[in-house]
């Protein structure tokens, strides 16, 4: 039994780290879709954010500058999405896909033009990154308190500040959505924008706010990838995380705490997949690593097929708002 625990705890630590980009992107999607704007462009915004974070952190030598730049660029892309889909009532899917293409192309192009390293930004020194924070007593706990100490040292302690920010974001989002006037209106605008409009509140303004929040969160997610988890931006480094986050959002039925649980689950699958590679499981034997890679998608499809309850999106999601017809 000892060995199971010994390998489980590092996997949990790894799951936490891997779930963070999903968590930020998923909550970005949550704000956006709750307000009725479908956001396929999470991936692109994260990627652009990651690039900005890597580039600016390199020039400023400071991770916070990188973080700010990432949020700024992702908000800018959010505004583009908003301009197309809120102001001009364009197709939200098309606009989101366009943002993905734009980000994938521009980051590689600018990276190559500025640094000539094949679309990468220069490798960052530790002073320009968000480093792992070791909590007080982590090492003593690991040494003297057995499994609990190990859990404390591996899973609770030893992450960068953005990880803790991500977990603070969860209750905060819940509070904003369900306990504030802004949240009530945000949810209303995603369900029945006409009612909101009748009450004399601007639908457009609320939706713009929502996509801007999404931009901020995508920016943080991108920064986490580029300047916390690694030491610089690498071409296409989001590697589909924005899409997995969308799957997580559907899986969580657009609710904050379920979204956190889903992201952790998907992170766990990823971490477990890496760890179990090549090691046979009891009773089952060796599991191909592709099984774990495909699981998030398989689970989402099963959910959508109606096996695990029903996932009902916000009613007005994806529908541009027209005042009268």
């Amino acid at each position: 039994m000892d060995t199971v625990f010994d390998s489980l705890i590092p996997v949990l630590g790894s799951s936490v780290r891997l779930s963070i980009p999903l968590l930020f992107a998923c909550f970005a999607g949550l704000f956006s879709e709750r307000a009725g704007i479908v956001d396929i462009g999470l991936e692109g915004k994260m990627l652009a954010g990651a690039f900005a974070a890597g580039a600016i952190a390199h020039h400023a030598g400071n991770p916070w500058a990188g973080l700010l730049a990432a949020m700024g660029i992702a908000m800018l892309l959010s505004l583009v999405h908003g301009f197309a889909s809120i102001t001009h009532r364009g197709n939200q899917i098309v606009s989101g896909v366009a943002i993905n293409f734009l980000a994938a192309g521009l980051t590689a192009l600018l990276g190559q033009a500025w640094y000539g390293e094949g679309g990468r930004t220069p490798q960052l020194p530790n002073t320009a990154r968000f480093l792992e924070i070791t909590w007080p007593g982590a090492e003593t706990a690991r040494a003297s308190y057995g499994e609990i100490g190990n859990f404390y040292a591996n899973v609770i302690s030893g992450h960068s500040i953005l990880v803790y920010a991500a977990f603070l974001m969860v209750p905060l989002t819940w509070w904003v959505l369900y306990r504030t006037r802004f949240g009530l209106r945000l949810r209303a605008v995603g369900e029945n924008p006409h009612a909101v409009d009748t009450a004399g509140i601007s639908v457009g303004r609320l939706r713009y706010l929502a996509v801007l929040v999404a931009g901020v969160l995508c920016g943080i997610g991108g920064s986490y990838l580029a300047i916390a988890q690694s030491g610089g931006f690498v071409k296409d480094m989001t590697a589909g995380k924005g899409f997995i986050a969308l799957a997580a959002l559907v899986f969580a039925k657009w609710r904050p705490f379920s979204a956190m649980a889903t992201c952790l689950l998907f992170g766990f699958l990823d971490a477990a997949g890496s760890r179990l590679q090549g090691t046979p499981l009891p009773f089952i034997g060796q599991v191909p690593v592709q099984v774990f890679q495909a699981l998030p998608y398989v689970l989402t499809v099963i959910l959508l097929a109606g096996f695990i309850g029903k996932a009902i999106p916000p009613k007005a999601a994806g529908v541009p708002y027209t005042k009268d017809r």
Partner: protein
């Protein structure tokens, strides 16, 4: 018979073309990792830059952005009269085969893959030999008796690195434990430093204190995490010792630069030959890096052991297993 004909042909061309030969313009087609991947493609770039410096001749190059561009770029080079056309990377094989058939008079070379056509030079490396040496060094440097390997895409070529590494390590310590992970099964596995870093951390947490990567840009994450955790990484393809000085034990260098340089020079000097060009330790096609960055990490005893093993491999006293010969690793 064929060889003499070809020889005469080459001689004739060589005599007739002293003026012509000076006019050659080689072309390089990089793989998706990009020209400055601090590894494989960059090696090719360095080789061509050396060619340019030594001969004063220009060369053309292209970095592809997606798979569909391979054929198009090769055909374009061929039409413009570039020779030789050097394609970098195993994924170019299908495109080279197709275009080389269309232009039987143009000279092609492909690195890391075999295309059996009369106008193609297939340049392959004995990665297992270089990996054997770094495996030996890793086992000597390891204090825990556990070492790691992180591969990029799960393909036989990368398994060949892994197998040589394990064999080298076990030659020092038969009981050594070697953790092996592959990053993925698609091309994205070469560009995922986050995943690479996580794999390295998972190996370190299981006790590994030296981790070797053969994973392109993904490996930068491996080297970063090993450096961060105070362990040792091993670089690949180019000399990566300088990325984290003092934290990278050594690098398994594939001299893609030598191979591309030779291919271009051979055409220029009329010495071109198609067919296999297998570069191992003997041909100095693979090597372990030893420079100012890692001098302090490699003791005299380790260096002697590695150099002895190298001599033994060249002399045939040590047979390094080639994974691709039977698609299995006996270690």
């Amino acid at each position: 018979m064929l060889r003499t004909t070809l020889g005469t042909l080459a001689l004739v061309i060589g005599m007739a073309g002293t003026v012509l030969a000076a006019d050659i313009e080689p072309a390089v087609l990089y793989d998706i990792g990009g020209k400055f991947d601090k590894g494989f493609n960059e090696g090719a770039f360095n080789g061509m830059e050396k060619f340019k410096k030594d001969t004063g001749l220009a060369y053309r190059e292209f970095e592809i952005q997606n798979d569909a561009q391979r054929e198009q770029a090769l055909r374009n080079f061929a039409k413009k009269g570039n020779s030789p056309i050097i394609a970098i990377g195993f994924s170019q094989a299908a495109a080279v085969e197709k275009v080389a058939k269309e232009f039987p008079d143009v000279k092609f070379a492909i690195v890391d893959m075999v295309v059996e056509l009369p106008n193609v030079r297939s340049i392959v490396f004995k990665e297992q030999e270089g990996s054997y040496l770094v495996g030996l060094l890793a086992a000597k440097a390891s204090k825990t008796g556990k070492i790691g390997f992180v591969g990029g895409m799960d393909i036989p070529l990368i398994r060949r690195f892994a197998c040589g590494y394990v064999q080298g390590a076990k030659s020092v310590n038969p009981n050594i434990e070697v953790f092996q992970n592959m990053t993925g099964t698609t091309g994205a596995a070469w560009n995922d430093p986050v995943k690479g870093g996580e794999l390295a951390v998972s190996q370190i947490e299981r006790g590994a204190d030296v981790v070797y990567h053969a994973a392109g840009a993904t490996g930068l994450g491996v080297l970063q995490k090993t450096a961060e955790k105070g362990k040792l990484g091993i670089g690949v393809d180019s000399n990566q010792d300088g990325i984290y000085p003092g934290k990278v034990l050594t690098s398994m260098m594939k001299r893609v630069d030598v191979a591309t340089y030779n291919a271009a020079m051979d055409v220029k000097n009329g010495k071109w030959s198609a067919g296999f060009n297998v570069l191992g330790l003997k041909e100095a096609g693979v090597a372990y890096a030893y420079d100012d960055f890692n001098k302090a990490l490699i003791t005299a005893e380790m260096k002697t052991a590695a150099d002895t093993a190298q001599a033994d491999i060249i002399a045939g006293k040590i047979q390094v297993h080639d994974y691709m010969s039977d698609k299995a690793c006996p270690f």
